[in-house]
Symmetry: C2
Subunit: 97 residues, 2 copies
DNA sequence: TTCGTAGTTCGTAAAACTACGAACAAAAAT
DNA sequence: ATTTTTGTTCGTAGTTTTACGAACTACGAA
């Protein structure tokens, strides 16, 4: 046990990978990649989960920084956070070669 | 709640992302990408975790199919499983564009 | 046969994840 | 003022993850 060679980049990559580590969240990210933004209700109509569960998944993606929500009453418009999404992309692409 | 558009590919991508969702496992994958194979003992020397904990992380990567272990007594030689690793790479790259 | 090496499995405990319905909040519409 | 719409937060329950040390397996060496 000399030393940990786990870098900050490893930790970041792991956080992003973890945020992507659920089928619902993969779906949301894919959906947002295909059509730049969407409303939570769009997803509720499609996905077979309770809206509270969806809200939790959106929160996790927000916490990881991958998406952002803009209030557009009476709804909330979710989009990819391109800056952070690109960071995640680069870290994971780099890891995967 | 019309229909789930979560595909089998989404589920696979999520499984791979989840397997990568821990700094120790990112480190192991990075390590194996840099030097084709390694022994568990090499990792025990570097990482500040108990060998049983390391064994669990290796098991998760094995369960996801990303790595494989070949017995080479008295040790076990871990390598990337390139076929599955490539599948993970393609799924995640595709997701990330 | 006994000892040492390399690694897995077991048992345990704490934390995090997943999911749901109910309750709530904020603003627009009636 | 009440209702409707959209979505979040709360409370709860069951499952999974993470981590550790101890015990175990398998083999080679002394």
């Amino acid at each position: 046990m000399e030393q940990s060679f786990i870098t900050e980049e490893d930790k970041k990559a792991a956080r992003y990978a973890k945020a992507l580590g659920h089928p619902v969240r993969i779906f949301i990210i894919r959906h947002l990649s295909e059509q730049s933004c969407c409303y939570s209700g769009d997803l509720t109509d499609i996905l077979p989960i309770a809206k509270s569960t969806l809200s939790q998944h959106l929160k996790e993606l927000k916490n990881a920084g991958l998406i952002q929500g803009e209030i557009e009453l009476p709804r909330i418009r979710y989009c990819l956070n391109n800056e952070i999404f690109n960071e995640a992309k680069n870290l994971l692409k780099n890891l995967l070669e």
